[in-house]
Amino acid sequence: MARAISTRRKIGFTILAWGIGLVIFFPILWTFLTSFKPEGQAIAIPPRFFDFDWTLANYETVQSRSNYFRHFSNSVISAVGSTLLGLLIAIPAAWAMAFSPTKRTKDVLMWMLSTKMLPAVGVLVPIYLIFRDLRLLDTHLGIIVVLTMINLPIIIWMLFTYFKEIPVDILEAARMDGASLRQEVVHVLTPMAVPGIASTLLLNIILAWNEAFWTLNLTTTNAAPLTAFIASYSSPEGLFWAKLSAASMMAIAPILIMGWFSQKQLVRGLTFGAVK
């Protein structure tokens, strides 16, 4: 039986939900608005919401002052590259743990997750020195490797959860139906695993795209992604809120659009394991 909810409660919850939604969304909205303000009005107190002189000047300045496209392509290379490399390592790992678990499987998973518990800054110096000695600083390869390593535990955990949900019965049914190992993988396992792999891929691209600690510390120009592009507009000498906002909007726009179009997959990814 459905619980009867009074209209007043419903209205109350609706207002509350919208309120929370707006609070969460507000920083992005504010950044968006600020990116269209002249610098002077961007820092005006009291703040101006819509009654300012709308301008595209910030975008023009940002565009002419720095090479957006180079940062953008660096972001694409590092996000996609690290995600693909991560999947390449994680798929067999998660596969093995899901389909032939041992007594230690849970421990291995826990150990992998534990690497995420250490604050990143704790290993900054050793990694920086290793990268310097291996000449990986400010290179695509270096960024791909470091992003792969920091996101690998999450990729493996997500894939493991997905693979766990594939019923063993179905694989056995395929075997009984005369499928060879190759046919079993191609016709049964892969189609059932693809949705899980797709949401893992999407979520990880977003994580890698927005990663700022390592990308800011290990790159300067050649491999600097959009995070570095934003950071270059926050300088201590001047107030460039509007330009900073314009740069931020340009940096998050591609991933926002990608996220918008893959909402369904992402929601599955974010609630992984929650719903059977």
Binding site: P167, I170, E172, A173, D177, H187
Partner: protein
């Protein structure tokens, strides 16, 4: 052709022995049911025949050919799982066609076989649906359809009806029996439900703790149970067991009388007791009678017999229908 022979088959998981030593011959074309309480090893035995588990020792032959080490895919058996195990990303048509696609059969042959299976199983209107759009009974039919298209040497059923509701279970039971009559292919069927076993089987294998307690036709098991376990397991309601003086009169350690072989009288009988519960099923009435020294005895009487809670009744076994067992529980 599909005879199955097990010879001294043993199976253990780690240190736990599930099947100590089983030998069994299943003749071609028979409907054989493995029945037993949960954990008796009946599903494991089926999976050993299927090849989904490896035997620890012993030999499994199908059609006289040693298949002990053969992969499940090459044994030419079909299996229907308790969970149906349909491929969720394929349509009903894709599911049924799958075994033939794996054989790389020509398209016309696949289409003909799928349409034929669908018409046998009343699935023609559902061929383009996905499994999630089907009811439980329809899913089970698809699983059976997938099993019959490749014309296997034998069908293996692993508790196929236990996820269905009671009415559907009875209907599917009939359908599977009809299917067996039509195809005349060997079927090995695992269930914990002795009613399913009795109604469907040509021969029943009663399993307990990984051992075969008895192997025979349903009526053989009912009329001549080899031991107390089989006597108690086959038949519903359960057989009544009595030990002590009354048993010794029959020259046995214990005796058993089926509920349907006890007559009830208002006067004294072999035993007398007080009616504890009377269950009216319409056609039958089950009386649960508290008998001093023998515990609760159950009788099955006709539906119009009216005994009330608390009444004292006499119980007398029907002549020649008393089963006698020795101290080890073996039939005498």
């Amino acid at each position: 052709m599909g005879s199955i022979t097990l010879k001294n088959v043993k199976k253990s998981f780690g240190g736990v022995t599930v099947i100590p030593d089983i030998s069994l011959d299943i003749e071609d074309g028979q409907f054989v049911v493995f029945v037993g309480p949960s954990g008796c090893g009946k599903s494991t035995l089926l999976r050993l025949i299927a090849g989904l588990e490896d035997v620890s020792d012993g030999m499994i032959a199908i059609d006289g050919e040693d298949m002990t080490k053969t992969a499940p895919a090459q044994r030419k058996l079909s299996m229907v799982f308790q969970s149906y195990a349909l491929y969720p990303h394929m349509s009903v048509r894709g599911n049924i066609a799958f075994p033939l696609k794996m054989e790389k059969a020509p398209k016309e042959k696949i289409d003909a076989a799928v349409n034929n299976a669908a018409s046998i199983l009343n699935l023609t209107d559902y061929l383009d649906r996905k499994p999630r759009q089907l009811s439980g009974g329809q899913r089970q039919r698809v699983a059976i359809g997938r099993a019959i298209v490749r014309q296997p040497k034998a069908f293996l059923f692993d508790e196929p009806l236990s996820n269905l509701d009671a009415a559907l279970r009875v209907a599917m039971r009939l359908e599977i029996s009809e299917l067996h009559n039509k195809l005349k292919t060997t079927m090995v069927y695992v269930t914990h439900d002795q009613v399913e076993a009795m109604t469907m089987a040509d021969k029943i294998v009663v399993l307990n703790a990984g051992r075969i307690e008895q192997y025979g036709s349903p009526l053989e098991l009912y009329q001549r149970p080899a031991n107390k376990f089989v006597a108690g397991f086959i038949g519903s309601p359960k057989m009544n067991f009595v030990e002590g003086a009354e048993a010794q009169k029959h020259g046995a350690h214990s005796i058993g009388v089926r509920p349907e072989h006890l007559t009830v009288s208002r006067g004294p009988g072999t035993w007398s007791g007080v009616v504890k519960v009377s269950e009216h099923l319409g056609s039958d009435t089950f009386l649960h009678v508290d008998v001093e020294g023998a515990g609760t005895m159950t009788t099955r009487t006709s539906g119009d017999v009216a005994f009330k809670h608390g009444e004292t009744v006499g119980l007398t076994p029907v002549e020649g229908r008393v089963y006698r067992f020795d101290a080890q529980g073996m039939a005498v």
